[in-house]
Structures are given as C-alpha cells and as structure tokens.
C-alpha cells in the first residue's frame, strides 16, 4: 500500500454552489502533503470530505486501502484531525481534554495517563496540565489541539491551517512538531494558504484554485515557477506614468504594474534589480519614497500556473468567487 490517500473525481456542491470540482490526487505513505489555496478555494471542504465530516456529491476516497464510503470505521481509528479552530474544551483542564480524547479513541486504559503525560511534556504543557483551557493562549490551545489529535497515535494526520494567528515562537514549535511526527512515520495532510509554511514542511504540494487542482509537485519544482514572480515595489516622487515605461525596460524586469502610487516590477532576481532602480531614481532626480522586495505571492503562482499574466490581480489573498451549478470556471489548470 504505497498511498495513504487516493482521491478520484472528488466533487462537492453546496446546493448549486460548486465548491470542489472533480479533483483527483494521491498522498503517499509517510509524506507531508501540502494543500494550498486562497480562502474559498475548496481546501477545507476537501479536507472535511477526507475526514468523513462532509459527504461528497461525487467521487471516491480511499484511505489506507479503505473506501471511505463503505468502510469509514477503520479509517477513523487511523486518522487524527486538527481543524482550523482549536476545538478544545475550554471548561476542562488540558489533562481532562487529553484523557477524554483518549477514551473516545479507545486508547487502552493502562496507557492513557502515560500517553497524556508524554504529550503534555512534549508540547510544553505539563506544568499547566490542571489549568482550565479557557486560561490558555491561542498557541497553547493549538498545541493541545494537536496533542489531542495524536493521542491515539494515528498513521495519518490532517492539519487545517495550523499556524496562522500564532506568534512566531508558537508557529515554530508547531512546525517542529509536524516534522517530528512525520519523522516518526505519520503521514501529514497539511492544509494551508501560507507558501513558506508549505515550502518548509511539505514533500509535495497541491495547489487548489476555484475547486480544482492547478498543480501538484514538489516545492522546489513549484518554486522554479515562483522565481519568475518575485518583485520589487518602488514609490517615486514625483510620480508619473512615464516611470513605468522606463522601469519595465530595466534588465531582468518581466512585467511592470502600477499599483496605486507605486510600481511593481516582476523579476527573477530582485537583488540585481534594486541598484538599477536606485540608479534610475538618482539619474532623474527622483526621491525614493519606498522600496521593497516581495517573494512570490500564492496568487502570482496561481496566475503563473494557469497561464495568466502576473499583476492582473491585486496582491494578497482574495476570496474565491463562488461558482454555480452548470457554470464552468474560467481557469484552465489541469489535474
């Protein structure tokens, strides 16, 4: 059994609304698989279908050799789920949360306390084991939520946006934990909209857009596409349309886009472009109000992967527009 997850033609409609559009992919045993996409792209819907919480409209899901439609019980025993919101019981202590989950997953009675202690120590919560979770910070709740998801030692762990909203230290701790779990043999299905997180953690990444898989590949291969869409953003004074005409002719610039009072210059090598922009400003007596470099945004990667021009959409995550039954999406991305 090479694949932990096999998905064929998975589709989900909410009424007329098409959320996931006939997607197919596999997740190999022991890998960290990233599932990337902006809000509303269909990530969480897909994950909820994979974890039995949502019934697909169409398609087939096989997890660890079991067809989810007919044989969900053994799959549930083998998987853990960390949803986007830490769904811990705030009225209970960390210790009680873990013991309750252990009971729910039928962890043998003799091993529950030992397992709970080990997890609380690993996750840095042992000292707070008797404190009610309502007094925990967001990062502590997140760690507890992960501990609860793995108390029964699942072979497959689903994580939905594990780090957004956390401080840098907590996010780092959680990423380290994910790496550790994977090193111990757990297959990880990581849903995220953070490219860098996927880059750091994932063996392979699928990009979902408008409910369809736009690409599946290793981060390194995807980054080959990402490199084209790095950019330098400059604001000059006095501003003017004429700057764009000149700036786009600078060596290495692939596209220039006016964004408010700034110009965004797309390039594979921002460090080489920065001095050229400064030279241009000096030569023309212009004042540089701001000058920044940007890594590729997920949206730019989408545009690259789907053959559209970068800069045609404003940077930053945008909500996906819902598609309705019978209306085909505009994206040309294949599976």
């Amino acid at each position: 059994m090479d694949n932990a997850i096999e998905v064929e033609n998975l589709t989900k409609y909410y009424g007329d609304l098409l959320a996931v559009d006939h997607i197919s992919f596999e997740v190999r045993q022991g890998e960290v698989f990233g599932f990337l996409g902006p809000n509303g792209a269909g990530k969480t819907t897909t994950q909820r279908m994979l974890t039995t919480l949502l019934e697909p409209t169409e398609g087939r899901i096989v997890i660890n050799g079991h067809d989810l439609a007919h044989d969900a019980y053994p799959v549930k025993q083998q998987m853990g789920l960390v949803p986007e919101e830490s769904n811990v019981y705030t009225e209970l202590s960390a210790w009680d949360n873990l013991l309750f989950t252990a009971q729910l997953y039928r962890v043998p009675r003799g091993g529950r306390a030992k397992q709970a202690q080990q997890l609380l120590e690993t996750f840095g919560l042992w000292e707070k084991r008797d404190v009610k979770v309502e007094n925990f910070s967001k990062g502590m709740r997140r760690r507890l939520s992960i501990a609860m998801a793995i108390i029964h030692r699942p072979t497959l762990l689903f994580l939905d946006e594990p780090t957004p909203g956390l401080d840098v230290q907590s996010a780092r701790v959680i990423r380290d934990l994910i790496r550790q779990l994977n090193a111990e043999g757990t297959t990880i299905f990581l849903t995220t909209h953070q490219i860098e997180e996927a880059n750091q953690l994932c063996d392979r990444v699928a990009i979902i857009h408008h409910g369809r898989i736009a690409a599946i590949d290793t981060p390194e291969r995807l980054k080959a596409a990402f490199r084209k869409v790095q950019s330098v953003e400059v604001a000059l004074e006095p501003d003017g349309q004429a700057h764009g005409e000149v700036l786009k002719t600078l060596p290495g610039v692939t596209t220039s886009v006016k964004m408010g009072d700034k110009w965004r210059l797309y390039t594979e090598d921002p460090s080489a472009l920065l001095p050229q922009v400064m030279d241009y400003a000096r030569a023309n007596g212009l004042k540089v109000i701001s000058l920044s470099t940007f890594g590729p945004s997920l949206e730019d990667v989408f545009l690259e992967l789907t053959g559209q021009q970068v800069g045609t959409v404003r940077h930053g995550m945008q909500e996906e527009k819902p598609r309705r039954r019978g209306i085909k999406g505009q994206m040309g991305g294949g599976q």
């Binding site: 819907t45 949502l54 019981y89 209970l92």
Partner: protein, 254 residues
C-alpha cells in the same frame, strides 16, 4: 468474529459513557442550561400551581412530570448547536464510533439531567411537603423512561443542521409549551372534552403525567403498563429523526 463484535459493542458503550461524562462536566453550569433545564420547570410549576387547592402528592406528581419533560428535553437543543458552533462536535463525528453511539451518549446526558432534577423535586416534595409515594418502583421506572424519552425528543431539535442554538431553542420551546397545555398536566385528562383528550393522547407527556399520578398519588386514568410502553416506544421513535438529520447535516456541511 463474535469476539470482535463484542469488543466493538464494549467500545461503543464506553464511548457513549465518555460523551456523557464530558457533557455533564462541561455543560451543566452554562447559563442556557440553568435557565431552560433547571429553572424553567419550577417557574412553570409555581406559575400554574400556587394558590390552587391541590394535595401534596398531586403537586409532586405534576412537578415530576414537568421536571422530567422540561429538563431532559432542554439538553439536546442547547448543547449540540453550541458544540457545532465551537467546532467541538466535529470531534465526535470524526471519532471511530457509530452515530447511534453518539446519539445514545447525548440522550443519556439529557436523561441524567432530567433524573437529577426530578430527584431534587421529589426530595423537596417529600421532605418539605410531606408527600408520600404510592409505588416507588413505578416512579423510578417512570422518571427514567420519561427522561430518556424526552431527552430523545430534545435531540430531534438538537439535530437540526445549524450552528446557532437560538435557531433551535425557539421551536423546541414552542413545542414543549404546547405539549404542556395539551397533556393533562394542568387540566386532568378526566376533565377534558373527548376532542381535547384525543389530542392529549398524541403527547408522550400525557403518559408521563398519568404514570406519575399512578406512582405518587396511587391512581391514574390509563394503565401504567400502557404509559410505560408508550414512553419506551416514543423514546425509540424519537431517535429516528436525529439519525436522518445528522446524515442530512453531513451533506449540508454542518
């Protein structure tokens, strides 16, 4: 093969027990539970019983029927939508246990609340008002069966696919109030018109009240066995819509 099924049954019962204990720990002090499950039946009782000539035993029988129904049926409509909103309900749905086990656990929560508050009412009736119990075993069976049946009734509303407890509270309260007035709690069955009595026979609360009358006062209009049978059957019947609604919720994404 038999051993595997026995193990599975044992696991499912243990999981239902875990759900029950967790809910008892986390829910009983929530304001909604205090209001709808603990205070409401006493409020109703005193509103409709004070300054009316009534023997202590009659009052206790009425209070027991009220607490059994109101308290037991309050848990489901309050707890489940709240858990859906907090995301903790997904924890149950993703766990390796059957939907029936989850529903059994949830029904037991309401039933235990109902039994607990009924015991409190009984103690007050016996100690403070000197009421006597004609048939204690019948009373125990009535309180237990009634609590399970009404808890399952509450579960129907709790299973409505929504994350907002308010969406569920209103219809469930409306139904419970309607049951209260058609079921011979405030107007005895014997004093009802034939048409009103025909409607009363559709309500499980009618049989619970009649059973309490048998158990506490020593007399009722219907056979106590019929009362017990109807409460048992309605409890089982009330589990069917929640199963269907949970399946529907899985399609809709709740």
């Amino acid at each position: 093969m038999r051993g595997r099924w026995l193990q599975r049954l044992q696991d499912e019962l243990a999981q239902a027990w875990a759900v029950l204990v967790k809910d008892l720990k986390t829910q009983y002090l929530r304001p909604g539970m205090i209001m709808f499950a603990f205070l409401m039946p006493f409020f109703m009782f005193f509103s409709f019983s004070v300054r009316r000539e009534m023997a202590a035993a009659q009052g206790v029988a009425r209070l027991l029927a009220l607490t059994t129904m109101f308290t037991a049926s309050a848990a489901g409509p309050f707890i489940i939508p709240l858990e859906r909103r907090l995301g903790t309900y997904d924890r149950f749905l993703a766990a390796p246990m059957s939907l029936l086990t989850l529903l059994l656990g949830k029904t037991s929560v309401g039933a235990l609340f109902g039994i607990g508050v009924s015991l409190f009412s009984l103690t007050v009736g016996v100690v403070a008002f000197g009421a006597t119990i004609a048939q204690p075993w019948l009373l125990a069976a009535g309180v237990i069966l009634g609590s399970f049946s009404f808890s399952a009734l509450g579960l129907i509303f709790g299973s409505i696919p929504t994350r907002n407890p308010g969406d569920v509270q209103m219809p469930s309260t409306l139904l419970r109030w309607a049951l209260l007035f058609i079921s011979g709690v405030f107007i005895p069955l014997s004093e009802m018109s034939p048409a009103a009595r025909a409607v009363a026979y559709l309500s499980p609360l009618t049989y619970a009240q009649d059973l309490m009358n048998h158990a506490v006062v020593g007399m009722g209009l219907l056979s106590p066995w019929l009362d017990l049978l109807v409460l048992l059957a309605s409890g089982i019947l009330f589990m069917v819509p929640p199963v269907w609604m949970h399946r529907r919720g899985r399609v809709l994404g709740y």
